[in-house]
């Protein structure tokens, strides 16, 4: 079933962006709340997120989302007020609610109504909310003594409704009468005014207070039923009876009142105090117009704030910096950033071309003033371009927090399912990484974390038997290291046994027994990245997703990253992932083949070798060379890209670029080496699409195009054939 919302696509987009942020916040903070039960600030942030989602979804017209968030907000509100405490069942129902919210958010994305049934979750939410309510509401009921005069209010109200048009007179005490008399002496009129508010009006008490305030602007309130204190205690009814002295005419006042929202009926009559009996209360000179004075005082008194009193200057300063930070933030579409990066890439290319052209001009007209001028301008443009490039790179950076946020929840659920006691630690969430890389590393990290819970960490009994603490830990950390970002997944579990890997690899036919014996331990451990190898005897619900460690490595390599394993049997394992800062610009080794230029990402280049005649051997019908006793399979770039050879190159002038990919090495045969260069990666475009062996293209200083060699796909190709 299709969904329709009363909002433009732009509005929906904005709604979704914000909803995503709120959901992420909820995801992360709810799990944190379970540990930091007393963290009020955290609780407030969570409440705010649920509350804002409720408001926005109701406005968008997604009633189910509004209902669900309302249910969650209800519980959070009670926790906030201390009527409920955070328990595992409460957390479970909140987290479950969050899962449903995600589905509902997807509905808005796809405009397709999902078949989720909210009945059950709404039921559990209200049940959970009621859990704390029963006790406290009973207590409240007992504590709340019936306020003075409130019986009178209802009686009056009832009387009014029975005898409709008449304005009932009002019993005034001695002070109040005195107040009226003084007013009359100043030439003012006294009125008894009856205001009926709509029964259906939202927040009746606030409406009553506002009505009272409007009256106050038109005169002095001698008395009101209910009193302003009662109204402020939210005990208003839909009937408001006021004794007012004013210098305005009756009709004027009635007119003002009738203009107010939710006012359905106004009756006013002159107030005759002589008709009233003073017997209602004894004279008491001190309580002159008690209600109004009290109300005014309350209105002027500062409200309780949660601000801590202290050094006023200091706190003001903190606030200042906070606003500055907020108001300087702007939302930008990722696509826009990509486009900007592309445009800067063009500029970088033009900068190089400009420099080349200048060189040509200078050699033609040396020491010409115009050329000099052009030179200066060109240098300046070059500098600005570099700065622009750096700034845009920075804009593309995102703290890994956005990715890490979802892990605490996942780890909590996984540990529970696996029946393991695991402390999950995160560090360095603020570390920044290019957003396209962040997108790519999500799956690999999930896989590594799942593995840690499922395979690495032992059940508590087993850990105790081994003399370890019953609670294991998994630590996910990110940090900056030179020109790379290091993300590590470390645990204190079983560790990886190289002998088991060897045996398993042989059994599965991945390597021969002969090869297995020759592998050192590190090499054996690296075999877990080979496809088809899984050491776990049983595949659990958790890790059994048909995704192996080979996919982990592939995904990381797609973004020019690498992964390394440090493990100690019985002590634990650490996966160290090394990622480049950005994908848009890489350092590459430029090579030429048949006078065409190719770029090989420097990250995967191990070394270059100059070939001499006869060094190339044929092993298993494939070309290879032997380097320091190791056989290195070769791939001729010329053949790879089907060059129509124009001239046969002389032998003896060939180079091999040795590339490495997760321990697999091979050589690319090229004609000559040009040198290292920073290249801007450009995609081949939609028309061409994916070409095997090509990761993209770049434009060189002279305007010609060079292809960027896709090392991972080539290595795989060679390994597969071999």
């Amino acid at each position: 079933m299709g969904l329709q919302f009363d909002a433009s696509p732009d509005e929906i987009k904005l709604f979704l962006e914000e909803a995503e942020e709120h959901l992420q916040l909820l995801e992360e903070d709810l799990v944190r709340l379970e540990k930091e039960k007393d963290n009020q600030e955290l609780l407030q942030a969570i409440f705010r997120a649920a509350h804002t989602l409720k408001g926005s979804s109701a406005t968008l017209g997604h009633q189910r989302m509004a209902q669900l968030t309302h249910g969650m907000e209800n519980i959070l509100d009670k926790v906030r007020k201390g009527q409920l405490s955070i328990t595992t069942p409460i957390m479970d129902v909140l987290l479950e609610g969050l899962d449903f919210l995600k589905v509902l958010k997807e509905e808005i994305e796809t405009l397709e109504e999902s078949d989720v049934d909210l009945e059950k979750i709404l039921g559990s939410l209200s049940k959970a909310a009621a859990g704390g309510q029963t006790a406290s509401s009973a207590a409240e009921g007992k504590l709340a003594t019936i306020p003075e005069g409130s019986t009178a209010v209802t009686e009056v109200a009832a009387a009014v409704q029975a005898a409709e048009p008449a304005v009932p007179s009002m019993a005034l005490d001695w002070d109040e009468k005195d107040h009226v008399t003084r007013g009359k002496k100043q030439g003012k009129m006294a009125y008894s005014i009856l205001v009926n508010l709509a029964e259906t009006s939202e927040m009746l008490s606030v409406r009553a207070l506002l009505t009272l305030m409007a009256l106050r602007e038109n005169g002095e309130i001698v008395k009101s039923i209910p009193s302003s204190e009662e109204i402020e205690r939210e005990e208003a009814t839909s009937v408001l009876h006021v004794a007012l002295i004013s210098d305005r005419a009756k009709d004027q006042i009635v007119h003002v009142l009738k203009e107010l929202p939710d006012v359905v009926r106004v009756e006013a009559a002159p107030l005759d105090i002589t008709r009233e009996e003073a017997g209602a209360s004894a004279p008491d000179g001190v309580t002159v117009a008690k209600t109004t004075v009290a109300a005014n005082e309350q209105a002027n008194a500062p409200l309780p704030k949660d601000e801590t009193p202290g050094n006023g200057n200091g706190s003001a300063k903190i606030k200042d910096t906070k606003i500055a930070k907020v108001s300087r933030t702007v939302r930008v579409d990722v696509e826009l950033l990509d486009n900007l990066m592309n445009l800067v890439g063009e500029l970088v290319i033009d900068r190089t071309r400009l420099a080349q052209l200048l060189g040509a001009l200078e050699s033609k007209y040396d020491s010409n003033d115009l050329v000099e001028d052009l030179n200066r301008t060109s240098v300046h443009i070059g500098r600005v371009t570099t700065l622009l490039q750096e700034e845009i790179m920075k804009a593309r950076m995102l703290p890994v927090e956005s990715l890490f946020n979802k892990f605490p929840r996942m780890m909590r659920d996984l540990s529970q399912q696996a029946g393991k006691d695991i402390e999950f630690i995160m560090e360095g969430q603020e570390t920044e990484l290019d957003r396209s890389i962040i997108e790519e590393i999500g799956d690999p990290l999930i896989h590594l974390l799942r593995n840690a819970v499922d395979h690495a960490i032992e059940p508590p009994e087993e850990r105790v038997a081994k003399g370890k603490k019953p609670q294991g830990y998994v630590k996910l950390s990110a940090r900056h290291e030179e020109n790379h970002i290091i993300i590590s997944v470390k645990e204190d579990g079983r560790g990886i046994d190289p002998d088991k890997i060897r045996a398993s690899a042989v059994k599965k036919g991945i390597i021969t027994e002969e090869v297995a014996r020759r592998l050192n331990d590190q090499e054996a451990i690296n075999l877990i990245f080979a496809s088809g190898l899984s050491t776990a005897a049983k595949v659990s619900e958790v890790s059994g997703r048909g995704v192996g460690m080979d996919v982990v490595r592939n995904n990381l390599e797609k973004v020019n990253g690498s992964v390394e394993i440090v493990t100690e049997l019985g002590k634990g394992t650490e996966f160290i992932i090394k990622l480049p800062l950005t994908l848009a610009i890489i350092r590459a080794l430029m090579v030429s083949v048949d006078s065409r230029v190719y770029a090989i990402p420097l990250g995967s280049v191990l070394e270059t070798i100059r070939l001499t005649d006869g060094q190339i051997k044929e092993i298993n019908k494939r070309e290879a060379i032997v380097v320091r006793g190791r056989v290195l399979p070769l791939l001729r770039v010329k053949e790879l890209f089907n060059h129509q050879t124009r001239g046969v190159r002389e032998s003896g002038k060939t180079f091999v670029v040795v590339v490495n990919l997760g321990g697999q090495q091979m050589g690319l045969v090229v004609d000559s080496l040009i040198g290292e260069q920073e290249v801007v990666i450009k995609t081949l475009g939609k028309f061409i699409g994916d070409v095997q062996g090509v990761a993209g293209a770049t434009i060189l200083g002279d305007g010609s195009v060079a292809l960027i060699v896709d090392v991972p796909s080539l290595v795989k190709k060679v390994v597969k054939v071999g």
Binding site: D10, L14, S205, V206, E259, P302, L303, K319, R331
Partner: protein, 118 residues
């Protein structure tokens, strides 16, 4: 053109209200939290403020107090969700002139604004 300051932490809500108001001939200023709202008020002196209550940095009630301190004649209308009566009450006591309950009905917003600034 009358100036209206919309203070809400949800950009989505601001967008909705801003659209409605601009279509009806108001100039709209926006702020994403209470503190920003107060600053905007001091700087631009809008004719009316639509103020959300639950916001980060500074909530709507505190913001009303701050604005009122700066300009006792300020017209602030609270925008609240159902169930926030106590908070709306406190805002009114702090000087807010009226309130609107979310989800907004466009006519209600416009009526309310017209009542104060025509």
């Amino acid at each position: 053109m009358p100036k209206i300051l919309v203070v809400d932490d949800a950009a989505f809500m601001r967008l909705r209200v801003a659209k409605l108001l601009t279509e009806n001939g108001y100039e709209v200023l926006e702020a994403g939290d209470g503190q920003e709202g107060v600053d905007q008020y001091k700087k631009n002196k809008p004719d009316l403020v639509l103020m959300d209550i639950t916001m980060p940095v500074m909530d709507g009630i505190t913001a009303v107090q701050e604005i009122k301190k700066h300009d006792p004649n300020a017209v602030v209308v609270m925008c609240s969700a159902l169930g926030q009566q106590t908070m709306v009450m406190n805002s009114v006591k702090a000087g807010a002139k009226d309130f609107i309950v979310k989800p907004y009905q466009p006519e209600k917003i416009l009526d309310t604004i017209k009542r104060f600034i025509g």
